[in-house]
């Protein structure tokens, strides 16, 4: 005798293990300690977040042109908007700021095609941006030709100066750093190698603040009478040399990660040293060290604020300068929050760009 076997339908999963409640249980209240930590975190957020948001946004004063507009007790963003142009352009003559804007616009216009996948002449454009564009930028900033009013480097300041220091520091230090890394690897040329080691270890061993101080205060003592060169230029050279030592060590790490077989295969094909490095080793090594290089770039970007000790006023310097203005005494929090925000925007963009670059260059295989 047989009877049909009809299994009962599956029961739905218990409500407490799926959906929102399930997620909460698993992630936030899985045991006593986690539950306590969750409750504590909620308490902290509840006490801290509303006042912060109130200060930042809801109670903040946005419109006006003097401190009289700031009455509601929140942040006084009027301070930022009133002094915005000095934060951006420093002491650049007011009716000449179009020149700085033009540099930004031209730079963005030049860089944009580099992000377009199908654009064919990326290398040529890259070379143009790195070698020709700085000349164009310098002429616009400095003036003195083509009927442009000449400016002093001491008038350059604010975000303009920050970006100038950081970009020159990065662009000039990268090739120098690569050469130093290659030099340090050159075991068959002991003189070159020890010079590179000496250079790297010297610059890595001193704090940037000392470098800037020395370039500004001590260097003129060693120069012959009457010879002097620009304070900004000295700071730039100091930053570049300092940065190149760091980049050299990052790049060296990449060079060491390339398997010996790659060097041998390039050698066996008859490639000369420079071709081997330029075509085979560096393209692979640089890809590996993108995160490290971007890390040093971000560190440098933030370190540029140190130029304040030699009297160059970058964006932070301009903010501090504005805080000394008797009309705006007492708004330092707003100033520093704003500066932090500006730096964060740039550093975060760099970080995202490096991640995108890594993904793009990943050809997905080792050996």
């Amino acid at each position: 005798m047989s009877h049909d076997f009809a299994p009962l339908p599956d029961l739905p999963p218990p409500a407490a293990s799926v959906g929102v409640i399930g997620w909460l249980r698993r992630n936030l209240f899985s045991n006593t300690i986690n539950s306590l930590l969750t409750l504590f975190a909620i308490y902290l957020l509840a006490t801290l977040l509303p006042p912060l948001l109130n200060w930042l946004f809801f109670d903040a004063d946005w419109i006006g042109d003097s401190r009289d507009a700031c009455t509601s007790g929140g942040a006084c963003w009027v301070f930022i908007s009133a002094r915005f142009s000095t934060f951006m352009y420093g002491f650049f003559p007011e009716n000449e700021t179009w020149r700085i804007n033009l540099i930004y616009i031209a730079l963005i216009a030049c860089m944009a095609p580099l992000f377009i996948e199908s654009f064919r002449h990326k290398v040529k454009l890259g070379v143009f941006v790195i070698f020709v564009f700085p000349i164009f930028g310098f002429i616009l900033l400095f003036g003195g030709v083509f009927g442009l009013e000449q400016t002093e480097t001491s008038q350059w300041g604010g975000l303009t100066l920050t970006l100038l220091l950081a970009s020159v520091g990065c662009v000039a230090a990268l090739p120098l750093g690569i050469m130093l890394a290659l030099g340090r690897q050159a075991t068959n040329m002991p003189a070159v190698k020890s010079m590179c080691v000496l250079f790297i270890e010297f610059w890595r061993g001193v704090p940037l603040i000392t470098v800037l101080f020395m370039s500004s205060v001590m260097l003129p003592l060693f120069l012959p009478e009457g010879v002097s060169f620009d304070k900004l230029l000295r700071a730039l050279i100091g930053i570049t040399l300092f940065q190149s030592a760091y980049i050299a060590e990052v790049v060296r790490g990449g060079l060491q990660a390339i398997p010996k077989g790659q060097y041998e295969a390039a050698d066996a094909l008859g490639l000369s040293y420079w071709k081997k490095m330029g075509l085979i080793i560096l393209p692979q090594a640089m890809k590996i060290v993108i995160p490290g290089i971007v890390n040093t770039f971000i560190a440098l970007f933030k370190d540029t604020t140190l130029v304040i000790i030699v009297g160059l006023l970058d964006v932070l310097g301009m903010v501090q300068n504005a805080l000394n203005d008797p009309n705006w005494l007492g708004y330092s929090t707003e100033g520093y929050v704003f500066t932090a925000f500006v730096f964060w925007i740039f550093c975060f963009s760099m970080s995202r760009y490096s991640q995108a670059l890594e993904r793009k260059l990943h050809t997905g295989h080792k050996r």
């Binding site: 077989g261 790659q262 295969a265 050698d267 066996a268 000369s272 393209p283 050809t363 295989h365 050996r367």
Partner: protein
């Protein structure tokens, strides 16, 4: 396939000559008084236990390793520390490695065209045409646009052989070309090498593929502890090994 096609008299030109070559790694004596002549079109198979110096020997021929004593003369040029001469010799000597050593950041075709373009100064179009030609010869023209990491080991090794051939070398060196491959891929690589041997290329090959040695070698060299112990044509070498170390080695690799 005929074993050991006899060389005609005109081919007696010596392509590689090693005279009393010695090499040390610190105190370890890797190569002891190596004497060897390879004539044009000759196919030499080098075998021996690991650590016997066979890879080191062929790596000395294109100076991936430096020898410390003796003379190495390749295609009429002596290897010294003169960089130009080394580069000159490397142009004429192709090398295939155990681990392929393809350039992972370049596509297969770019791997092939690189040396003709940058060493032989060929225009890109021409170099790529040559690359495609050799890719067809190793039977994977459809992989040209892929990256090496997307190919199987056997395919990668065939690309590596094609890459060397693109330089139109007069000599090919193989350093254990099939040792890193899965068994089912060994044949496809050996087939390419056999075809190359039949085309008259001067070849030196470090390998444990005794079938390959029997098929194509003019001479089989057995090395042990840095010395050439035995050097004979394959029939003689396999059927009537003279030295007891050779006998032991052969019994170990063929006996199972």
């Amino acid at each position: 396939m005929t074993a050991a096609v006899p060389n005609t008299a005109a081919d007696n030109e010596v392509m590689i000559e090693l005279r009393g070559v010695n090499k040390w790694y610190d105190k370890f004596h890797v190569l002891k008084d190596i004497n060897l002549q390879v004539a044009k079109g000759e196919r030499i198979v080098v075998c021996g236990p690991s650590g016997s110096g066979k890879s080191t020997m062929i790596r000395c021929i294109n100076r991936l390793e430096e020898h410390q004593k003796g003379q190495i003369i390749v295609d009429g040029t002596e290897l010294t520390s003169d960089l130009r001469q080394i580069e000159q010799i490397r142009k004429e000597v192709g090398m295939v490695f155990q681990h392929f050593n393809l350039f992972p950041h370049l596509t297969v075709l770019e791997n092939l065209a690189l040396a003709p373009m940058w060493v032989r100064k060929m225009p890109r179009k021409e170099a790529e045409a040559i690359g495609m030609q050799y890719l067809e010869r190793v039977k994977i023209p459809d992989q040209a646009k892929k990256y090496p990491g997307q190919l199987s080991g056997g395919q990668q090794q065939r690309v590596a052989i094609a890459r060397s051939l693109c330089m139109n070398p007069r000599i090919m060196l193989f350093d254990e070309p099939t040792s890193a491959l899965d068994p089912e891929m060994i044949k496809e690589v050996l087939d390419v090498m056999i075809e190359l041997a039949e085309s008259g290329m001067t070849m030196m090959c470090v390998t444990h593929e005794m079938g390959f040695a029997k098929t194509v070698a003019d001479k089989v060299i057995f090395m042990d502890r840095g010395q050439i112990v035995e050097s004979n044509p394959p029939e003689e070498f396999f059927n009537n090994p003279q030295n007891e170390r050779t006998q032991l080695f052969l019994s170990q690799i063929i006996g199972h």
